[in-house]
Structures are given as C-alpha cells and as structure tokens.
C-alpha cells in the first residue's frame, strides 16, 4: 500500500486552519484527533497505528489543499480513517501471509517491568492525592474488589458509575502518557542496581 507523501508546510497549515482559526487551539485539536485515530487503528489490530493515523491526516490535508470544501472535518477524517484501516488490514494480512509468521506479544522482561514500575511510582507521586486514590481504587484489585471499590468511590464522590468511569479513564490516560514518556526518556539510561557505584 503506497503511503501519501507528508504534507508541505502550507498544506499542514491549511489543515490546522480548518481545525480552528486559533493556532493554539488548532494544535490541541490536531493532537486530540491524532490520539483518537491511533486508538482506533490499535483496535483494528494494526501493527503501526501511528503510521496510519498520520496517513489519515496527510490524506485529509492533501484533500483540503486541492480546494475541497469539507463541512464536517471530524466526520470526514474518521471516514478516511475507516478506509485507511481497511486498506492497511489488507496490506498487513498480505505481508504476514508472505512472511508466514505471526508476531506474538512480548510478555515484557523483568527489566522492563522494573522500569515501568519506577516510572509509575514517579507519575503517581506527582499526582494530587485524591487523583491517585481515584485511579488506584478504580483499577486495582480482583474482580470482586473492583466492583466494591468502584461503588464506594462513586458514592464518596457523589457520581454515577458512568461518570466515575469517564473520570477514571481520563486519569488513566494521563498516567499512561506520563509512564510511557518516562519509559521513553529512560530507554537509553541503564537502571542503577544495588551493586552500581553511586
């Protein structure tokens, strides 16, 4: 599957302009849409969701540059995304069949787990206590404990379960973002172990 060339600065500016007249707001909307697209391409089981999210945005930028009048940009973008997903799935299936191999998920090494755990602690400690209690209460424990915790949390915050779920999801997404960027920062830095010199 041939990918679109990256948009020129002018094409990119036109896309931002279509998202919002205010540059800063346009940037924020661009990021939000891109994250939503990445999530969607992940759900579609694609190996490189970021690539397909960018492809969707590039195609839309080019369409705008051609002078197309797009009334509902979000709806248009998501329509393009669904086409891109179908094409990408076909391409990835063909590629997998040709290579005759399927990648299995990595379970994560002890070192990776240890890094993730350190980053999680850092990120949790940077949160206000109430937010930290919310996320730990909402997502930790076995199935029975979670049901009990969630009901108790909802009651204590005076929220219904749906509203609580949405709030917990936003906190979880921010936490994931924080941990992943911490992991990225730490990738090239070895973890100090007990035997290392200070």
């Amino acid at each position: 599957m041939a990918l679109s060339p990256p948009p020129s600065q002018e094409q990119f500016d036109r896309l931002l302009q279509a998202l919002s007249a205010e540059r800063e707001q346009a940037g924020e909307r661009y990021e939000a849409i891109r994250l939503k697209l990445i999530r969607f391409f992940s759900w579609e089981g694609l190996r490189d969701p970021d690539l397909w999210a960018d492809e969707t945005l590039n195609r839309t930028a080019m369409k705008l540059a051609e002078g197309a009048q797009i009334e509902k940009l979000d709806a248009y973008l998501f329509g393009v995304a669904r086409f891109v997903a179908k094409e990408a799935l076909r391409a990835e299936t063909r590629e997998t069949t040709l290579r005759d191999e399927v990648e299995l998920p990595q379970t994560g090494s002890h070192l990776e787990d240890s890094r993730a755990s350190q980053c999680l602690n850092q990120c949790l400690n940077s949160m206000p206590k109430r937010t930290r209690d919310l996320i730990l209460g909402f997502y930790q424990g076995d199935a029975q404990a979670r049901i009990r915790n969630r009901s108790a949390l909802a009651a204590s915050l005076n929220l219904n379960l749906n509203a609580l779920r949405n709030r917990a999801l936003r906190v979880r997404q921010n936490l994931e973002k924080c941990v992943l960027s911490c992991l990225e920062r730490d990738t090239s830095r070895p973890i100090r172990t007990k035997g290392d010199a200070a």
């Binding site: 998501f78 994560g108 602690n121 730990l136 949405n166 994931e176």
Partner: protein
C-alpha cells in the same frame, strides 16, 4: 459495554463493525466506553482473568502494535503497584537513621529523657520517625504539669534536614491541629507551641519540606 467488548475482540460481522465504528466516531460518549472496555480487557488479560479464547482475541486484536504492548506494561505495573511500599522503605530507612541519632542524643544527655524545666517549658522528646510499635504509641507526659509552653524535640537526622522543614501535628482523625517551622539546635529539631495549642491526645507528626512533601512521620500520645 458488551457491544464494545464484542467489537474489541473481533466478534462482529463486517457490517456490524462498520455500523459500530460509525456510531462511536459520531458519539464521544460511546468512544469513551470503548476506550474504557479496552483498558478493562488489558487489565483482565494481565490478571489472567480471561479464558483462552478471549486471551487469544486480545493478543490478535489489541496487542498487535508496540504501543499497545507498552500499555500492557503500564497495566501490569499498576496491578502490581503497592502504594505504601516506597514509603515503607523510606520510613524504615529514616527510622534506622533516627534511631542512631536518638541513641546518640540520649548518650550525650547522660541517658536521661527527663525533660528539663526552664521558664515553665515542658520539653518532650519525640520518638524516632515511624516509631509506631506493637506496644502502642509512646506516651509523653508534660512536666512540670504547670508548664505554659511545650517544646518538642526530635534527634537530628540528615534525612530530615531539608530547607523550610515544618512539623504538622495531626490528631487521630488526621486533622492538622498545629504546625510550626522547625528550629535547629546542636543535635535536634525543635518545635515550640503554647500549651493550649496541643491538647492531650494521640498525634501523628508529619515532617514536611518546603514543597509540602512528607519526609517522615512519628506518632505519640500527649498526656
């Protein structure tokens, strides 16, 4: 939520899938429901709560990309997280440091913990940080009983030697009763209050640095 799980596990026909995609792109609330279901599936996968079929579907549909596998790492860290562990380690380390300081202080003072009486000030030696023992909380008595001021002292420890160190005295309900900046003398941190500011009762004393981060705690009952 069920519909979202069916979608995420690849159990919809192509027509159902198309229709569902169209709906969640148009409805932010439904999109959030799918996101939430995804997080729950990843957590359940980590906890081993899924049957073999669902497990296979999660691997096939939700763990294809490196980014998703990283999210699984976060999920596992969150499941294994023990909130108090860091503080337990810190408290044990601080307690060890302060024990050393505490005993050297006693030694310097001729192994006496008797409060000195000066200008009707009751001097109360605080137990080391994290000194909550199975024998119960240490009891501090106000001597002389007629003291109008209370002076709390805790052995100097480098671990507590932060700029702007402050002591927050909290009652049994966790409510701050009084707080004061720490003064430093030769071998102790000192907090002074008028007698009425700290009524008798059980206390947690939190040592806070200038940013409000707790560096350690100690517990006692003021008689």
């Amino acid at each position: 939520m069920n519909e979202a799980v069916q979608y995420l596990l690849g159990r919809m026909t192509e027509e159902e899938r198309d229709a569902f995609q169209e709906r969640f792109f148009a409805d932010p609330e439904l999109f959030a429901t799918v996101e939430s279901a995804e997080v729950d599936l990843l957590d359940a996968y980590n906890r081993g709560e899924l049957n073999a079929e669902d497990r296979g579907a999660v691997e096939r549909f939700l763990l294809s990309s490196e980014g998703q596998r990283q999210r699984l790492l976060v999920s596992r860290a969150l499941q294994n997280h023990r909130p108090s562990r860091v503080w337990q380690y810190a408290a044990v380390a601080l307690a060890a440091l302060l024990c050393i300081g505490w005993f050297s202080l006693l030694k310097n003072r001729g192994a006496s913990i008797e409060p000195t009486v000066a200008e009707q000030v009751a001097v109360l030696e605080l137990p080391p940080v994290a000194a909550r023992t199975s024998a119960g909380l240490p009891r501090l008595s106000t001597q002389p009983p007629s003291a109008t001021r209370l002076e709390f002292r805790i052995a100097f420890s480098p671990a507590l030697d932060a700029p702007g160190l402050k002591g927050s005295f909290r009652n049994g309900e966790g409510k701050e009763v009084a707080s004061a900046a720490a003064r430093r003398d030769a071998n102790a941190f000192v907090f002074r209050f008028s007698r009425g500011s700290i009524p008798p009762g059980a206390y947690e004393l939190a040592f806070l640095d200038a940013s409000g981060t707790a560096l350690g705690f100690t517990y006692f009952i003021l008689e």
